[in-house]
Subunit: 332 residues, 2 copies
């Protein structure tokens, strides 16, 4: 049973595929009433706002019952959404996966549920969440990377997100590691994302497996290489498949070079890597650390933990709660 | 004539070749009594400390006369030296150009002259100096790069140096831009420094000019390609030499990729580039900005000025004064 004076915050993780909503007390001790629903962005922004608001109401009701609290203990709603955003004005500037342009998401949700709300980039939220109650706890200078369809990231300094001069800070996926290399979907050549995002991991596996009927990978997809995903690669690697292990090792080298660049410029004490890629486990992290060690200055490498994220599916919600909490500090 | 209550600070710029010392009032309005002498590191650390101390005494005497102040208006000495350093303890950990290991430079100088002293990395000092009274004035998130024999750098956030978890922050020269590229003298492959430092600019020019007797470059060095330096390349470029212009343009592309990585991760509002390379002028800066624009996110590029440093030869002294000033704020 929570204290009757404890603040609760609702977190909303808006993705192209799913909306996840949950509530947490201000101390981050646990989460309540985690709900997930398909986004169905194709039905338009109004429907998505209505869906989010309905989920928030349900989560509040369930939390009131579960935690034995009152409605006025809810301080507000933190929202994490794909960028680029105008944080100040609470606007989603462009979200290709949602089909949105200049949509005032923060104020629409705040109005619907009658609570203050904040809006921040999803990868920023995830990094702050890992700092708050995840793998980056205690870090003074934290770099977070989230590896999925793309590679996003965030920087947390002394417990506060570093947004930079125009809210772009942390776009680690679009740093160049090979300036004459692969074309990235952003239009440039040699971005980290062009090598180490989920789809590019799958693509590199397809290139290597092609024509090798013997690979576990080929068998896993019944010979249809189009069905290979990053997840297939991690599973095949766990099964000891040589090609999959090679692809994971290469991925580690690319990520290690990207991480080393961060170590030498920003000199963090924690780099936390989240997303599907962490399924590869130590088969990824061991060579990744070795590559970072090779490329970074020794005192920079030695000062930094390079660790997988701990928050998994709840990372977005936890991070959204953490960003609200940061922007609306509790005044006792 | 300075106010009788105005604080003065002495700056020491210790390099492998020269020691430069000068004094400045706390408001940075001008510098006094700038002196330069050869370091003569081969004579040993004790001799270097004695030389620095003697120069400080001379600068103080000259400033007392020139500015009409008293000895007690000197608050202390800021020292900038090549890293890696242990700032906390005021120790030069390793300085290959000086032949030093674990040398307590700060306290030795402080003891000799009877004033408090601070020690920081030379590239950090230069960046803080440019923020204080140079090209990065007014910047809230500043990245500085100093391009000479090596490529150093520093980060200044809200007027304070960001040192990172182990004083390595800002080592921009050793970020990877081409992970399968040229070997760097740090042992890695594809560091920015391996392409765009002074000696590597000269080396690329030698590679391209080799066998082309017609180049202005070849004539400038009387056919002896070993004599080509980065400075020769900038002069030949100003004279319109095609090969030299190509080398400058390539240098701009390498630096532009490195700068774009900083824009996308740190999202600064100023990038200030200092050192010999700025002699190439707009022949360098125009294609450098174009490459950064091509590779960085648009809002990151648009939010950032990319400018040459303004402090030239005095940058080290100004920066050393700025770091002392920051660590010993004036209490009126």
């Amino acid at each position: 049973m929570a204290h009757s004076d404890q603040r609760f915050i609702i977190g909303v993780d808006l993705g192209g595929t799913n909306i996840v909503v949950g509530a947490m007390p201000d101390d981050g001790s646990r989460h309540y009433a985690l709900r997930s629903q398909p986004t169905m962005a194709e039905k338009g922004a109004d429907v998505v706002v209505e869906r989010i608001s309905q989920m928030i109401r349900e989560v509040m009701a369930a939390t009131i019952t579960e935690a034995g609290i009152t409605r006025k203990q809810f301080a507000g709603v933190g929202i994490g959404a794909p960028g680029p955003l105008d944080r100040e004005r609470g606007i989603v500037i462009v979200a290709p996966n949602l089909g949105w342009k200049d949509f005032p998401l923060r104020d629409r949700v705040a109005h619907e549920v009658g609570l203050p709300a904040t809006l921040d980039n999803d990868a920023n939220c995830a990094t702050l969440g890992e700092w708050w109650i995840g793998a980056a706890r205690g870090g003074r200078a934290v770099v977070g990377m989230t590896i999925g369809t793309g590679i996003g990231g965030g920087l947390v300094v002394d417990g506060r997100l570093w947004h930079g001069a125009s809210d772009v800070a942390g776009e680690i996926g679009h740093t160049t590691i090979d300036m004459h290399g692969r074309r990235c979907k952003c239009g440039n050549y040699g971005c980290l994302e062009a090598y180490a995002s989920g789809p590019n991991i799958a693509e590199r596996a397809r290139e290597q497996v092609s024509g090798d009927g013997d690979s576990v990978l080929t068998r896993m997809v019944g010979g249809n290489l189009d069905l290979i995903t990053a997840h297939t690669v991690y599973e095949a690697a766990h099964a000891g498949d040589k090609i999959a292990l090679d692809v994971v090792k290469e991925t580690a080298a690319f990520l290690g070079a990207g991480v080393a660049n961060l170590l030498n410029t920003f000199n963090p004490d924690v780099v936390v890597i989240a997303g599907g890629v962490t399924q590869a486990g130590e088969a990824l992290f061991e060579p990744l650390r070795a590559e970072a060690r090779r490329r970074a200055f020794r005192p920079a490498f030695d000062a930094c933990r390079i660790v997988p994220g701990e928050l998994d599916g709840a990372a977005g919600v936890v991070g959204a709660v953490a960003t609200f909490r940061q922007q609306h500090p509790h005044v006792a």
